[in-house]
């Protein structure tokens, strides 16, 4: 998920073959959001981000971790990752 959808994100995905893209809005209550076990990788050093990704993301070893919400910068904006375990806390709109 991203903070907000941009035309650049849509163009990128369409360039990879995606069709019929539709932007959906998800909301979560403030208290529920603040209660998530969150890791915010913004502001970490490159070495620290790389080390974390190498161990815990599927790009590397893919070891399990206990975070429910991870924020990290990407080339097309900050990505807000949520564990499927907390999907029930969000409401998906149009």
């Amino acid at each position: 998920m991203w903070g907000e959808a941009s035309p650049g994100q849509v163009r990128l995905l369409e360039g990879h073959g995606a069709t019929g893209l539709r932007v959906m809005e998800a909301t979560i209550g403030e208290a529920e959001y603040q209660g998530l076990r969150t890791l915010d990788l913004r502001g970490y050093t490159d070495e620290a981000v790389n080390a974390w990704m190498d161990v815990y993301s599927r790009y590397g070893q893919g070891l399990s971790h206990s975070y429910q919400h991870i924020i990290r910068p990407t080339d097309i904006g900050d990505e807000f990752y949520f564990s499927k375990d907390v999907f029930h806390l969000s409401r998906i709109g149009r």
Binding site: L12, R42, D46, Y59, G60, R72, T74, D75, I76
Partner: protein, 137 residues
């Protein structure tokens, strides 16, 4: 010779990723193919987005291989793992070059990657630099 390389680098807080597997065998001319390539565990069809990066990655390794006396090879790209969000073409180019370089029988320590002009690029160590790196400390 089979080989693979997982490219994972972070610059400016942004992570770049690509994983490429190749197989090489002797040939009379350089050829690069990916007709049977498994793309993202076959979860999505490959639409050719990274074609140029794959070709260029092999070419980078092939050029250096020939400069060091190597002979032409047929290089088959057998697998590509990419994520549109974290995998720009230059990450695929680097992963392909590194996988190919190892498939051609060379060492990964002969080369390094740098981030310049907004993209990751492959650099090769000269023979002098390799000697310096291999000097016992």
């Amino acid at each position: 010779m089979p080989s693979q390389y997982g490219f994972l680098r972070t610059h400016g807080g942004i992570t770049y990723f690509a994983r490429v597997a190749v197989e090489s065998q002797l040939s009379s001319t350089w050829t690069v193919t990916w007709n049977k390539m498994i793309y993202n565990d076959s979860s999505h069809p490959y639409n050719g987005y990274y074609d140029t990066a794959l070709e260029t990655g092999v070419a980078v390794a092939a050029r250096e291989h020939e400069q060091r006396g190597g002979v032409p090879q047929q290089v088959e790209i057998v697998e590509l793992l990419a994520n549109p969000v974290d995998t720009p073409a230059h990450a695929v180019r680097c992963a392909t070059a590194l996988a190919t370089w190892k498939a051609l029988g060379h060492s990964e320590s002969d080369m390094y990657v740098v981030f310049e002009e907004e993209e990751w690029r492959i650099k090769f160590l000269t023979s002098d630099e390799i000697c310096i790196n291999e000097r016992p400390t």
